[in-house]
């Protein structure tokens, strides 16, 4: 792991977004992950999503824990502040940051070890607090930085590269998130940028806890023929086509014609809309029980249900629950925060 900055020069005619920025302006330093790592594709999707949404990069805070995945925030958006915290503790750091400044966009990047093992408790409680953030797990079923040990999301049926069997059942983070009340739960695949990018956009637009579990093959330790987190396996068993999402920004007109009965149209807080195509008749993503059922029945068949699995468009976020001021707390002047000596005289009097 070393720091390699990218050359600043770029082609003068690169397309620019509404802020006059190019995709390059949303990039970070050079990735030091293994060539072909799924995480780099997710990084690219995050860059694409933010560029297309015209998000000012400096209004985004990138937060992560420890592990290969948690290094990824270095590789996108150099103009954003980032916080690479301690292992499994990104949710608490983000909670504090979000209380301090509700106006920033929080993108959390974590891994399956970081979230499903050491940080499982913090993950659960971040969901419970309805933290307004996008929480992305780059899920490869193994510990990459320490050379390929099984993680808690590795399927029981999926042996290691050396052929050792995995004796324990996997923790399904999407099911867990739905059960804990996450308002936005999606699963995707690093190899499916068309699906992933609008999901990231929808997650960022979502007001509340948006969870994205992205299967992201580890080319070095978990991409072998018998792995269920390999490129080959996920491509062959991905049920993405059953449930495709279009993300429509607030400013955009809907131009595509959708055949009646094949879509669900969900409007989010910020006015953006999610058009879900080819909705499986068994699975309306506004129905948590149906979402759990879809995940479980597909998993039983060895298939991976991807796409927007569950959404509650009306969820309150942490600031609604805490009833905090509309202004960021970190911007309140001391004159409003410090009650002064007169008030103190009153307190002293009460203690006499």
């Amino acid at each position: 792991m070393s720091y390699i900055s990218k050359p600043v020069a770029h082609h003068p005619q690169l397309p620019r977004n509404a802020l006059g920025l190019t995709r390059r302006d949303y990039e970070g330093s050079m990735s030091t992950l293994c060539a072909g790592c799924g995480h780099d594709s997710i990084t690219a999707a995050i860059i694409e999503a933010c560029f297309e949404m015209d998000l000012p990069a400096h209004r985004i805070a990138k937060v992560s824990g420890i592990g290969c995945s948690s290094k990824a925030p270095t590789y996108f958006m150099n103009r954003s502040h980032g916080f690479n915290s301690v292992h499994g503790r990104m949710p608490s750091v983000t909670t504090g940051a979000a209380i301090a400044n509700r106006d920033l966009v929080y993108i959390g990047v974590s891994g399956d070890g970081d979230t499903a093992s050491i940080g499982l408790g913090q993950f659960c409680h971040a969901v419970r607090r309805r933290l307004n953030m996008t929480y992305i797990v780059m899920n490869n079923g193994c510990y990459g930085l320490t050379k390929g040990q099984f993680s808690a999301t590795n399927d029981k049926t999926s042996p290691s590269k050396k052929g050792e069997a995995n004796p324990f059942d996997a923790i399904d983070l999407c099911q867990l998130a739905i059960q804990l009340g996450a308002g936005f739960v999606a699963r995707s695949f690093s190899g499916d940028k068309n699906q992933l990018t609008p999901l990231i956009q929808a997650a960022i637009s979502y007001n509340g806890f948006a969870f994205l579990d992205v299967i992201s093959p580890c080319v070095t330790f978990n991409n072998h023929a018998t792995s269920t987190k390999s490129y080959e396996y996920v491509r062959a068993h991905n049920l993405a086509s059953e449930n495709h999402l279009d993300y429509v920004e607030p400013k955009e007109e809907i131009t595509v014609d959708y055949a009646e009965g094949t879509t669900a149209d969900i409007e989010l807080h910020d006015g953006s809309r999610l058009i879900l195509n080819k909705l499986d008749s068994q699975h309306d993503p506004r129905d948590a029980d149906a979402a759990l059922m879809a995940i479980r029945t597909n998993a039983a068949k060895g298939a991976v249900a991807t796409g927007l699995l569950y959404i509650d468009p009306e969820q309150q976020d942490m600031h609604d629950i805490l009833a905090t001021d509309k202004r960021p707390l970190n911007a309140l002047p001391m004159t409003e925060l410090c009650p002064g000596s007169n008030a103190l005289d009153g307190i002293n009097a009460r203690l006499r």
């Binding site: 792991m1 070393s2 720091y3 900055s5 000012p56 990069a57 400096h58 805070a61 937060v63 925030p73 270095t74 150099n78 103009r79 954003s80 502040h81 980032g82 916080f83 690479n84 915290s85 301690v86 503790r89 949710p91 608490s92 750091v93 983000t94 909670t95 504090g96 940051a97 979000a98 209380i99 301090a100 400044n101 106006d103 920033l104 408790g121 913090q122 659960c124 409680h125 607090r129 805490l322 009833a323 905090t324 001021d325 509309k326 707390l329 970190n330 309140l332 001391m334 409003e336 925060l337 410090c338 009650p339 002064g340 000596s341 008030a343 103190l344 307190i347 002293n348 203690l351 006499r352």
Partner: protein, 606 residues
């Protein structure tokens, strides 16, 4: 020795029986009579049914340390009769509920039997009332025995039960029951009794946790994250109480955010996240919480994130004695986390300083961009102290430290001659300039990390750079030594070579002991440490004295070790005076420890 306005009363009751509020009313009434009192709650780690004690020392002279030897024992708990009886000084008194009369196997005390349960059973029919009013009946008996001011008692009860006037009347009936019985059956008042005094005039009666929570309000803290743990819980609760009173906008929106976290790791994580994002943030915890928070404290130290931690110390190691007091987290807090780490510690001596140092901790944390720990303890935190009123200077400007706004970022190079880098030491004080997320579209962004980084916050595995950065952070600690509160020094013997170092809750015991020693013909110069790193004054005090007692409440002489390792004070001249039984320190202990060394013959004779 004991006499008017100079004695100790101890209440032995069952926890969960409602005695706590009656005992509190007793102490507050004395305080309002102008008499310095120091109530100490000695309670079990339990909710209902176990023995609990409330010790009240009355001292017109203003000595507020705990004192051994009970003059009057109010023995309301048969479970602890035996040990309660043993604690009474010869010539003392024992008041008990004589509904079931018993013989007390001590001829050298006076037993005062009051048939409390019987009287309550006759007066009230509701079992709950019968139980609760028992407490006010013994308070009533004490009004006669100790000559308490009834009017003051009534207003105190009235303040406690605001809006429940009926209940005030009922309580006063209970008081009258006990008072009348005592007046009819005993020689009242006892030789030990009360009179109006001046010593407590102008003071307030408050706990350190209440004060520290208020200090956080005045410091402008907006993010509080905590996990319930005795004895720190009431600090976060106090912050919330005051925030609800003083930090709610007209539209009902709160100018604060409190998270009761899932554990201590999350609590400090939330506080660090808030500090990173420019809000004054804090957590409150106790020993086990410090252990759990250590990894995060190392991150905040190395990544240079301001955060304040109130450590309300209790008896360790491990779960230890959750409801007893100690000063045994000095070492772990000074060096919390793996690797080379060092933290700024503040040592308040009483609730007044919990407020003032508590508020100052936020200035220091932001100025120094590092965790600052306020080292209170159970004795200061949970007991009510007669203490100086809180004071605030409205002209004071909160020191928000070196934080650059967009304009300053634009003009940084022009102003300083250097490019901005998150960890560049521009001013030579070891303190770099920080930026907050969202400040500027193209300038000031950086990656905060616990991995090794260069002066521009970029990851590095270059050992030279790593050493350079941690050397600079160490230099920042030298700057800290010039900014932290200076010690309080009392010179009794100019040019004398015997000194005594103390800190925190032992202050009243030490002050009293120094007076006692003076009567023994021993004059000792004293220094109260208020902060770590040690300031110049601490080190020169050590240099000026040949023999220095270090008074602390832990087994391993942790402050003494810190003076040796961080102040290079020779261990040979630092004499430990250690108490670690979990009880607040007494003056007799301090005096004994000094005399044992200086006048062993006298100690042997005593």
């Amino acid at each position: 020795m004991s006499g008017i306005n100079d004695f100790v009363v101890k209440f032995a009751t069952v926890n969960g029986s409602g005695s706590a509020s009656a005992n509190g009313i007793f102490a507050k009434t004395l305080f309002r009579m102008g008499i310095p009192v120091s109530p100490k709650n000695i309670f079990p780690s339990n909710i209902q049914g176990l023995p609990t004690w409330y010790e009240v020392r009355v001292s017109e002279a203003g000595y507020l340390a705990r004192r051994d030897g009970i003059d009057l024992m109010v023995a309301m708990n048969p479970q602890s009769y035996k040990e309660d009886l043993a604690e009474i000084v010869p010539g003392g008194w024992l008041l008990y509920d004589s509904t079931l009369p018993r013989i007390w196997p001590r001829a050298d005390i006076t037993v005062l039997g009051v048939p409390i349960a019987e009287m309550c059973a006759r007066k009230w029919s509701d079992p709950r009332q019968r139980q609760l009013f028992k407490n006010m009946v013994y308070v009533g008996a004490l009004t006669a025995l100790l000559d308490m001011d009834l009017k003051v008692l009534e207003t105190t009860i009235g303040d406690q039960l605001k809006g429940k006037e009926k209940l005030v009347a009922a309580n006063m009936e209970a008081v009258a029951l006990g008072r009348d019985y005592a007046a009819q059956h005993f020689q009242c008042p006892l030789p030990i009794h009360l009179r109006h005094a001046e010593g407590a005039k102008g003071k307030i009666l408050v706990s350190g946790n209440d004060a520290a929570g208020l200090g956080a309000i005045y410091a402008g803290a907006t993010v509080c994250a905590w996990y319930p743990i005795t004895p720190s819980t009431s600090l976060a609760e106090a912050y919330e109480k005051y925030a609800k009173r003083m930090r709610v906008a007209k539209d009902g929106r709160r100018l604060y955010g409190i998270v009761q976290a899932e554990d201590e790791l999350a609590a400090i994580g939330v506080a660090i996240g808030g500090g990173w994002n420019g809000a004054r943030s804090f957590t409150a915890t106790s020993g086990p919480g410090i252990s759990l928070m250590s990894e995060f404290l190392g991150l905040a130290y190395f990544a240079e994130v301001p955060v304040v931690l109130f450590n309300i110390q209790r008896g360790g190691p491990s779960t230890g004695m959750p409801t007893r007091t100690q000063q045994s987290d000095i070492t772990i807090c000074a060096y919390a986390s793996h690797g080379d780490t060092k933290h700024v510690l503040l040592f308040p001596k009483d609730p007044t300083e919990c407020f003032s140092l508590g508020a100052e901790a936020f200035d220091l944390a932001e100025r120094l961009q590092t965790p600052v720990m306020v080292m209170s303890d159970l004795d200061i935190g949970m007991n009510d102290w007669v203490t100086d009123p809180f004071a605030w200077d409205d002209s004071k400007v909160h020191d928000r430290g070196k934080v650059l706004d967009a304009e300053q970022l634009e003009g940084f190079k022009e102003a300083t001659g250097s490019d901005w880098g998150r960890y560049q030491d521009i001013d030579g004080d070891g303190i770099p300039y920080r930026t907050l997320p969202g400040t500027h579209p193209t300038k000031g962004a950086f990656f905060t990390r616990g991995t090794s980084h260069d002066e521009n916050a970029r990851y590095t595995e270059d050992g030279h750079i790593h050493a350079r950065v941690i050397d600079r952070i160490r230099r920042k600690f030298d700057t800290a030594a010039t900014l932290v509160p200076k010690p309080e020094i009392t010179i009794r013997d100019k040019g004398g070579k015997t000194g005594l170092i103390y800190f925190g809750a032992t202050t009243p015991a030490v002050h009293e002991a120094l007076d006692l020693l003076e009567r023994d013909g021993v004059q000792v110069n004293a220094l109260r440490i208020r902060a770590f790193p040690f300031t110049r004054e601490v080190l020169s005090f050590c240099a000026m004295h040949d023999r220095i007692f270090v008074v602390e409440q832990n087994r391993d002489a942790q402050m003494r070790s810190l003076l040796m390792t961080e102040g290079n004070v020779p261990g040979t001249k630092l004499i430990p005076a250690l108490n670690y039984d979990g009880m607040p320190m007494t003056a007799a202990f301090v005096r004994g420890a000094v005399l044992k060394e200086l006048k062993p013959a006298q100690v042997a004779a005593e």
